[in-house]
């Protein structure tokens, strides 16, 4: 059995995002990282493998820089690495991205898919449920924990009353929120092995999908609107002044 883990490389959450000529300037991104929620998905997949066996297939779609992401995944234990080459990943719309990922999952033959609840760049959260729809799978979102349970899986997700444990059987997709454990650190041996691991590189044609043209066109990126300069006060004595302003100027208390 194989577990497909969908990963996305994004600017590190500590990185500044700058815009030039109406587009986010990727060349100024100081550090690229695995999207944080994907790390939880990968760690949970590794733990599931340790308790019940299986192969971890790390899949990403993106430009050449994503090779590092796959090596990082291999260094902590991913068995197979799949790179769907898409130089223009940011210009693809949700339908196109999901078609590529779903086709890769089907080509590998995984019936269990792990991913993050959303990527740290687009913050959308469309991929997990969208891929589930295309492969005819159930999808549990905002998952914090997954365990093998008889012939299927049990997963913990939030509910109106707190949390709940749900049961689901394959084919299924789990979209992870922050989990219970951080992703493990790679050891030296893992890093060395990862360097030599082959990467399967697939194009849309290799996957046998026609993704067509994007129906969503990005017109422009811009920096967030600057906030007008606020008022600043010295010392705790000013607290009552500020509380008065919150009531009389801002009308929020």
């Amino acid at each position: 059995m194989s577990i497909a883990v969908l990963l996305k490389q994004v600017p590190d959450t500590t990185a500044k995002i700058s815009v030039s000529a109406g587009r986010v300037d990727e060349s100024t991104v100081s550090k690229w990282s695995m999207s944080p929620y994907d790390e939880y998905a990968l760690e949970s997949a590794l733990q599931l493998k340790e308790s019940g066996g299986g192969d971890i297939v790390a899949i990403t779609a993106g430009p050449a820089r994503c090779e590092k992401l796959l090596r990082d995944a291999a260094a902590v234990g991913a068995d197979t690495l799949v790179h769907i080459s898409a130089e223009n990943i940011n210009d693809l719309d949700s339908t196109q991205v999901q078609k590529l990922l779903a086709a890769a999952v089907e080509k590998i033959g995984s019936s269990v898919v792990f991913c993050g609840k959303q990527a740290a760049d687009t913050n959308a959260g469309s991929t997990g449920p969208g891929v589930a729809e295309l492969i005819g799978a159930s999808c549990v979102t905002l998952v914090s924990e997954v365990a093998a349970d008889g012939a299927g899986y049990s997963a913990t997700r939030p509910s109106a009353a707190g949390q709940e444990k749900v049961g689901v059987s394959a084919p299924c997709v789990f979209a992870f929120d922050k989990g219970i454990t951080e992703m493990r650190r790679p050891n030296v041996r893992g890093i060395m092995m990862a360097k030599k691991k082959p990467i399967e590189t697939w194009s849309a044609t290799d996957l046998g999908v026609d993704i067509g043209a994007a129906a969503v066109t990005i017109d422009t990126h811009s920096p967030p609107a600057e906030k007008p300069r606020g008022q600043k006060f010295e010392g705790a004595d000013s607290v009552s002044t500020v509380v008065g302003k919150l009531r009389d100027e801002a009308n929020v208390i």
Binding site: T13, P36, T95, G130, E133, S159, A161, E164, S240
Partner: protein
Amino acid sequence: MEYTVIAESSGDSLHPITAQLVGAASALGSSPTVVVPGGVGADEAASIAGVSKVVSVVGDCFATFDGGAWATAIASQCSGVVLAGATPIGREVASRVAAKRGVPIVQDATGLAAGITITRPIYSGKAVETSTVTGECVITLRANAFEAAGAGGSAAVNVVNQSADVGIAVKEAIAKASERLDVSEADIIISGGRGIGQKENFAHLEEVADMIGAAVGASRAVVDEWGMPHSMQVGQTGKTVTPSLYIAVGISGAIQHLAGMRSSKYIVAINKDPDAPIFGVADYGIVATWEEAVPALKAALAAL
């Protein structure tokens, strides 16, 4: 183009996002159809001004949440431009409806204009994207970013019996660790960071929160280092919040944190370091230690 709104419920009534979705459709000149999954709040939806028709979809599959089943049951009622809330349930159902219909989805819009031109924050608010979508599509809208439609409508309610196979079985409910208000639901949030010294000092923030009906939030640093619940975390890898008032206590304002709270309506920052980046986004900055400022805050609120 025709507009369909996917309603969302909260308990036994409609979630406020529903009237905002109708408001957004109306602003684009449409009288939308409102599809109500499970039928909860259908009559309420019919009374929203500007709604042309309500389709109440009822079936066994709506007893628990399975986004796939819900989407299967409602998809045939959704046509044209479909609007849903950018809430956890809205995002998931909308994603599946989009994939089922083979149309693109754009999530978390904060602005819509004819065309359709969509404005939305990306990189958790570190940049803003404007995009254009042609043809049928699904768009989710951020809560409180659009003017809600008023009352006074009297649309007809059509009840459709349609269920779907459910693949997710609820096996066990786990009670909430605390009864405190969640940061994503709150209109006022008071958050603490490393500057308040230790986990136990959150009790002081909770006292303030109880006085003004606020939720208590936390920075990533204290969630990771002091083991605070992740549900409290505000920031790029936690919750993105847009309350009316956000009070940051002992939070320096790492870019990760600012990304999650900078679009709050009013921001108060309390920090002893006058150069802390949090003051750059604060409407009201107070340079003081939390040990002095928090008791003063309690006293000032008590005197209101």
